[in-house]
């Protein structure tokens, strides 16, 4: 699929030929404080308040083994029997696969079923991933997708359980973007995730879990 040779030039030329707006009218851009997330020490608290306000369930734990136990208990409480888990370092460190299996739950890794990867994501009860960053201003998780934390693991199952290091909570999205663009190549895609999937399209009434996860658990470590 290519552009008809003249289409691009025609469009740009029409725009270029249009009379320009008087210069004086282009207003300056004051920097706007976001009102929240001013105090770095309080970032985790702010994050927790905002995420909870957006209907995520937030749990703070002291260390990684406690996080693993917490995942198992979330799964049991909700009566979930299978989870697809991402391939990130933190997930490996937490020994989640072994812990789930020990508790009699099914754990599917993304590398174990590459051919059926998509099907496995849709079939699992829960998706367990890390979240590279949290955003205090809005209580959002910043999912930066790559081969170890791909898109569907955190989105296709009805329940998403995310591990977030307290140190990775940033004040706002501007800081996030600065952090991510420090890398040499930008990620193919990112998603800010704030609370579960939601709709109010029928009768203006909010219902959760229309397409994406209806439940979002965030475990903050540290």
């Amino acid at each position: 699929m290519t552009t008809r040779p003249t289409a691009r030039e025609n469009i740009l030329n029409k725009l270029r030929e249009a009379v320009s707006w008087p210069k004086a009218e282009s207003a300056s851009r004051p920097k706007i404080g976001t009102g929240d997330a001013g105090d770095p020490a309080a970032l985790t608290d702010i994050f927790e308040t905002k995420a909870t306000g957006a209907a995520a369930v937030v749990k703070r734990v002291g260390g990684i083994s406690e996080a693993t136990r917490q995942i198992v208990s979330f799964m049991k409480e909700d009566g979930l029997s299978s989870a697809i888990i991402s391939d990130e370092e933190i997930i490996g460190k937490a020994g989640i696969k072994a812990a789930l299996e020990k508790a009699g739950l099914r754990a599917i890794t993304i590398s174990s079923e590459p051919a059926d990867y998509k099907e496995a994501c849709f079939a699992a009860d829960a998706g367990i991933t890390g979240a590279p960053y949290g955003i205090a201003e809005t209580g959002s998780l910043a999912m930066v997708f790559d081969s170890r934390n791909p898109r569907l693991v955190s989105h296709a199952p009805f329940c998403h359980i995310a591990l977030l290091m307290a140190d990775d909570i940033l004040p706002d999205t501007e800081t996030l973007v600065a952090r991510v663009t420090e890398r040499r190549v930008p990620p193919s895609a990112m998603a800010l995730v704030t609370g579960p999937s939601m709709t109010a399209d029928i009768a203006l009434t909010a219902v959760r879990g229309i397409h994406g996860p209806g439940k979002l658990y965030i475990i903050i470590i540290g």
Binding site: A7, N10, I11, L12, L15, R16, E17, A18, S20, W21, E25, A27, R29, P30, I32, G33, T34, G35, D36, K50, A54, I110, P114, Y117, K118, F122, T138, S140, F145, S147, P150, R151, L152, H155, T173, E174, V177, T181, P186, S188, A189, A191, L192, V193, T194, G195, S197, M198, T199, A200, D201, I202, A203, L204, V207, G209, I210, H211, G212, P213
Partner: protein, 478 residues
């Protein structure tokens, strides 16, 4: 989608006479206002935030060609394919062609007003390709074959009972009136489509010039599926969707979600830089960004109307509009409704065809006050009226009929001389006298009947103000 902008009066009446709709519109503005007010109160300085938003949009539009080129360059570096289309037909053909080449049978689609403008779904359907709108409201509208009632909530007026019956006939499910149940029926049905789809088509909320990223805002997660699952992602954007920098985009985002739904941020904000990278098990193999003109360069060329391209389609102006809140969204007869629809529909379809829309405004300015893009709607309504009155070839406006022009010329002549004014006043009082009943004129014959069809004229005073003034009747009410 049938274009029915000419039917404004009839459809406005239908809206006014629809009891269910009236009840809904009674509640709607209260809810939207509360949500919006609260969400803006969490910003350090809401007014300055709005001003900055307007400045960003103005700057984006002012230097549009340069930013478009910069965006293209970056996006190509990131691995996206950029395709340009001058009009709706060309854009449709590009997408259909691509779908055919890739042997696509099923497409899942995110909500996009531009693809509504260009009737993409009909064209795909005509070519034997199944396309499913996946935003719940848009899915309902598509299955019912209706126009959107509201830019943000296209089906928020449709009764639960009607949706329940629709789901029974479309999905073959058991009828339920439970909202959670209905939502799960839609989830189940569209999940299968997400699994099958070989192509996802979405719109674009913002295209960032300095990074080549596209940003897509949603609450449901249907866009995450449509952009993350299928092998091909086609994003369709109007040329006006550009913002200069990522920081600008993040600021506009704060205003967009607050203005749309009163949220500090939506459930999902997708920032897409390109197709999947090596080793990623999901994400599209190819990303196509189709940049469409579709009448926008024409708006750009007219400095009187150019500012309207700054619109970010948040829907806030509808929610505060005293007209929209009485007649609802269908009266506007095309893709856009409310104040923004009263500007865009005429500019896209013709000033003559859609003239009722920009005349049916009160010029109260509530829309301008909430607009995060700094659009001066009342000024644009007046410009539209002016261009129609004086006739304007570019915008398909004939001059007013001779009789009407003569009437106004006579009126202008009549009021510009004291003697003429006094005589005309006397003459009118005498002529109108027979039509006065109970202090008002409820019905006039002939040319005057249009004026009195929907309103009463107060009866002319027995003694005109000028007389009372000169008779020394000052400082009293009688």
């Amino acid at each position: 989608m049938k274009i029915e902008v000419e039917e404004f009066k009839r459809k406005a009446n239908e809206g006014l006479n629809n009891a269910h709709q009236r009840e809904l519109l009674g509640r709607l503005p209260v809810i939207f206002k509360a949500l919006r007010d609260y969400s803006f109160s969490t910003l350090a300085d809401p007014k300055a935030a709005l001003e900055r938003g307007a400045a960003i949009r103005r700057e984006s539009i002012a230097n549009l060609p340069a930013y478009l080129e910069a965006f293209e360059k970056k996006a190509v570096e990131n691995g996206a394919n950029i395709v340009w289309a001058e009009d709706y037909r060309e854009a449709r053909e590009i997408i259909i062609d691509l779908a055919r080449k890739k042997k696509v049978k099923t497409i899942t689609k995110g909500k996009s007003m531009l693809t509504e403008e260009m009737e993409l779904n009909r064209a795909l359907g005509d070519n034997g390709i199944d396309v499913f709108e996946t935003d719940l409201g848009e899915f309902i509208v598509q299955q019912m074959n209706r126009t959107p009632f509201h830019v943000v909530g296209p089906a928020l007026n449709v009764a639960v009972e009607e949706i329940a019956d629709l789901f029974v006939s479309v999905m073959g499910v058991e009828k339920t009136l439970d909202l959670g149940g209905l939502t799960m029926q839609a989830r189940g049905f569209l999940r299968e489509k997400f699994k099958q789809a070989e192509m996802g088509i979405t719109g674009v909320n913002m295209a960032v010039a300095d990074t080549g990223s596209i940003i897509l805002v949603e609450n449901e997660g249907n866009i995450r599926f449509s952009t993350g699952g299928p092998k091909t992602h086609v994003a369709v954007m109007g040329i006006e969707k550009i913002v200069p920098t990522m920081d600008d985009a993040l600021h506009v985002l704060r205003l967009l979600t607050r203005s749309c739904t009163g949220q500090a941020v939506s459930s999902y904000v997708n920032v897409i830089n390109g197709p999947k990278k090596k080793g990623e098990p999901d994400g599209p193999d190819e990303l196509f960004i189709v940049i469409v003109d579709g009448g926008r360069t024409k708006i750009y060329a007219d400095p009187d109307f150019r500012q309207v391209l700054g619109c970010i389609k948040c829907g806030a102006c509808l929610n505060v509009c005293p007209v929209w809140n009485k007649i609802g969204g269908y009266a506007y007869g095309w893709v856009y409704s409310g104040p923004i629809g009263s500007i865009l529909n005429p500019l896209f379809l013709g000033l003559e065809r859609a003239h009722d829309l920009y005349h049916a405004t009160t010029l109260c300015g509530a829309c301008r006050e909430v607009c995060p893009a700094g659009i001066d709607h009342p000024r644009l309504f007046l410009k539209l009226r002016e261009k129609r009155a004086s006739g304007d070839r570019t915008w398909g406006a004939r001059r007013l009929p001779l009789a009407e022009r003569l009437t106004f010329s006579a009126w202008a002549w009549g009021i510009s001389g004291e003697g003429r004014y006094r005589t005309a006043g006397k003459l009118l009082r005498w002529m109108l006298k027979p039509f006065v009943t109970g202090g008002v004129i409820g019905k006039l014959p002939a040319m005057g009947s249009g004026w009195t069809r929907f309103r009463d004229l107060p009866a002319p005073a027995e003694r005109p103000f000028r007389r009372r003034w000169s008779d020394g009747e000052r400082g009293t009410t009688k």
